[in-house]
């Protein structure tokens, strides 16, 4: 089973050290982020059990948190996940059209992954970029003021990166 590298384990211990003794469960959310980054962009039950063992808590305590927060993926996702905001202010600025365009362009529905495993499309609720709408999150960063041309460019960029990083 996959395990954290020594470097990541250090990071985990550094996070645990922030809290009072015996309150290591507080590290759960940050450690789940680390685990999702390290182990393929999603949290399998094996990964969650591993995190439980690291923090010395019951696996159910990890499951109940992982299922509550929207950023944790509980099934495999593509290499690039488009998380497009659809709440009020983005809707006022045309997010509905952007979502339709991405669906057509990638040939997938919301929640699906392309056959080549490159792209997943998700719709999300307000990400706090309302003044720069429409927008989406891609990895660690936001892509804002989206247009159809920008979507084309982002898809090209991802495809190029996928080739060079393989």
């Amino acid at each position: 089973m996959a395990q954290f590298s020594a470097e990541k384990l250090n990071k985990v211990n550094e996070i645990i050290a922030r809290y009072p003794a015996g309150k290591q469960k507080s590290a759960l959310i940050p450690v789940l982020h680390l685990a999702q980054e390290e182990f393929g962009g999603w949290l399998s039950s094996e990964t969650m059990d591993y995190v439980a063992s690291l923090l010395n808590i019951e696996p159910i305590e990890v499951y109940e948190v992982a299922t509550f927060y929207s950023m944790y993926n509980l099934k495999p996702v593509g290499k690039y996940v488009f998380e497009v905001c659809q709440t009020g202010p983005c809707m006022l600025n045309g997010s509905d059209d952007i979502i339709e365009y991405i669906k057509d362009k990638l040939g997938i529905k919301v929640g699906e992954t392309t056959a080549d495993g490159l792209f997943t499309l998700k719709t999300v609720e307000c990400l706090g970029a309302c003044g720069y709408a429409p927008m989406m999150q891609l990895g660690k960063h936001y892509r804002e003021h989206l247009t159809k041309e920008k979507i084309d460019a982002i898809i090209n960029e991802c495809e190029r990166n996928a080739v060079t990083n393989n």
Binding site: R18, Y19, P20, K23, K25, S26, A27, L28, I29, P30, L32, H33, L55, I57, E61, E64, V65, F68, Y69, S70, M71, Y72, Q86, T87, G88, P89, M91, L92, N93, V124, E125, C126, L127, G128, A129, C130, G131, Y132, A133, Q137, K140, H141
Partner: protein, 454 residues
């Protein structure tokens, strides 16, 4: 030009770096507070300033601090709420991204006042890149002796840690935030006990919004008394407004709460008018939870006075004809926008974000979304409008935390002020699929209510 206390230096090149920030007068408030004031004097200064919590509720910050229990031998915690998730609100992000040291500086002073030796910034998980910016600023402050052990030789120790959330609007509610910080689901707690007595790890805790903490810096620098002179009435100091929707210049603006809503929308200094030369239909001035107002009631109160950008004027008339300052998330709808569709997106948001603890909210938010979807997509019945009204009434006030109210208010206000637009959707479902209701009478001047002659 209004006075700027928070963003004045936000665009000085390199202000993200300690050296530039310090050269521009940064960290003076830490020196002043730690070297010349007692913790209680700092709290007193914040009380005098009249600063109200900038997260949305508007509770006096100094009073909140003074409620903090101080039992002997028990650690106390300051937690900064950077979970900014209210639709329309993106001011804290702006402040943290452009001038992160201002938040760090405010946190050191506030930690000193409250006696917090370990202070946490709980930031929404999606703001991942801002975590790096904040951690860089914290590391620089520490290198320069403003954090760590024995700060400035005063014997005060303080560390600041940044903790990411993972996508949950509810974690902006302070007890849900505390649960989340403890590694649990973000289920709000029943109050009392209040966090000031029993917060994170059962210790006394103060939770303050990013902007509230940042405002402590100018308060200490210029004194609470001077700060209270800015603004009007109980709306003291400056407020960050994040403006979005159908305007020419969306963005974050610092206002001193003396300008009118009309000036804020149409002046080139702020929103620059409605985009594409269109007319104003409606606006939600304080984040998605606060009541939407049609153009006529937004610009003038029911008494016919100019509506101003401050706590009192925005709430003038109560919910019947007014709204709220809230978080300062200012969402503008132009004449071609559909209020039903916009309300539907908000109802969907609250259904998605309900934590599920309380039945009225868990079930009610789902019903409201379904009914609004039916109305929007031409399958609505006339009785649906009354049913929506009934459901929102049954959510409001019947839940552990304010998310229930936050979900009920946008639906209630949309029906209160735009009932004919809802009725049109039900009556002409085919037309409503092809075009919007438009501006209708929503910008027409209203008759001014006057007292009957004796």
């Amino acid at each position: 030009m209004g006075r700027k206390l928070l963003l004045e230096k936000a665009h000085v090149p390199g202000i993200r770096n300690y050296d530039v920030y310090r050269r521009e007068g940064g960290y003076r408030s830490v020196e002043k507070a730690l070297k010349t004031m007692s913790p209680d004097q700092v709290t007193e200064e914040v009380k005098k300033s009249g600063l109200r919590g900038r997260g949305g509720a508007g509770f006096p910050a100094g009073m909140k601090w003074s409620f903090l229990a101080k039992p002997e031998g028990v650690p106390r915690y300051l937690v900064c709420n950077a979970d900014e998730s209210e639709p329309g609100t993106f001011k804290d992000r702006y402040l943290m991204e452009f001038i992160p040291h201002l938040l760090v500086e405010g946190l050191i002073v506030a930690s000193y006042a409250l006696g917090s030796n370990k202070t946490f910034i709980y930031i929404r998980g999606e703001y991942a890149w801002i975590v790096d910016i904040l951690e860089q600023a914290i590391a620089e402050a520490k290198t320069n002796g403003f954090l760590g052990k024995n700060i400035l030789g005063t014997g005060f120790d303080c560390e600041i840690y940044v903790q990411r959330g993972a996508g949950a609007y509810i974690c902006g509610e302070e007890t849900a935030l505390i649960e989340s910080l403890e590694g649990k689901r973000g289920n709000p707690r029943i109050k009392p006990p209040f966090p000031a007595v029993k917060g994170v790890w059962d210790c006394p805790t103060v939770v303050n919004n990013v902007e509230t903490i940042a405002a402590v810096v100018p308060i200490i620098n210029i004194t609470g008394e001077e700060y209270a002179k800015i603004g009007v009435g109980k709306s003291t100091g400056t407020k960050l407004i994040s403006a979005c929707g159908n305007i020419n210049k969306p963005g974050v603006y610092e206002i001193d709460m003396t300008i009118s809503v009309e000036e804020f929308i149409y002046s080139d200094e702020y929103c620059g008018g409605i985009a594409h030369g269109k007319r104003l239909k409606a606006c939600i001035p304080g984040g998605s939870s606060v009541p939407i107002l049609p153009a006529n009631l937004l610009l003038k109160t029911a008494k016919g006075e100019n509506r101003m950008m401050n706590y009192e004027s925005l709430s003038d008339g109560g919910f019947a004809t007014g709204t709220m300052m809230g978080s300062g998330g200012f969402i503008v709808l132009d004449e071609d926008q559909c209020v039903v569709r916009h309300t539907l997106t908000l109802a969907r948001f609250y259904r998605h974000e309900s934590c599920g603890q309380c039945s009225p909210c868990r079930e009610g938010t789902g019903w409201m979304e379904k009914i609004l979807k039916n109305i929007e997509y031409g399958k609505g019945k006339k009785s649906d409008i009354d049913l929506l009204w009934d459901i929102q009434r049954k959510i409001e006030g019947n839940t552990i935390c304010p998310l229930g109210d936050a979900a009920a208010w946008p639906v209630a206000a949309a029906i209160r002020h735009f009932r004919d637009e809802f009725e049109w959707h039900v009556q002409y479902p085919n037309a409503a699929q092809n075009r919007n209701y438009g501006l209708a009478h929503y910008a027409d001047p209203l008759p001014i209510a006057t007292a009957p002659k004796a």
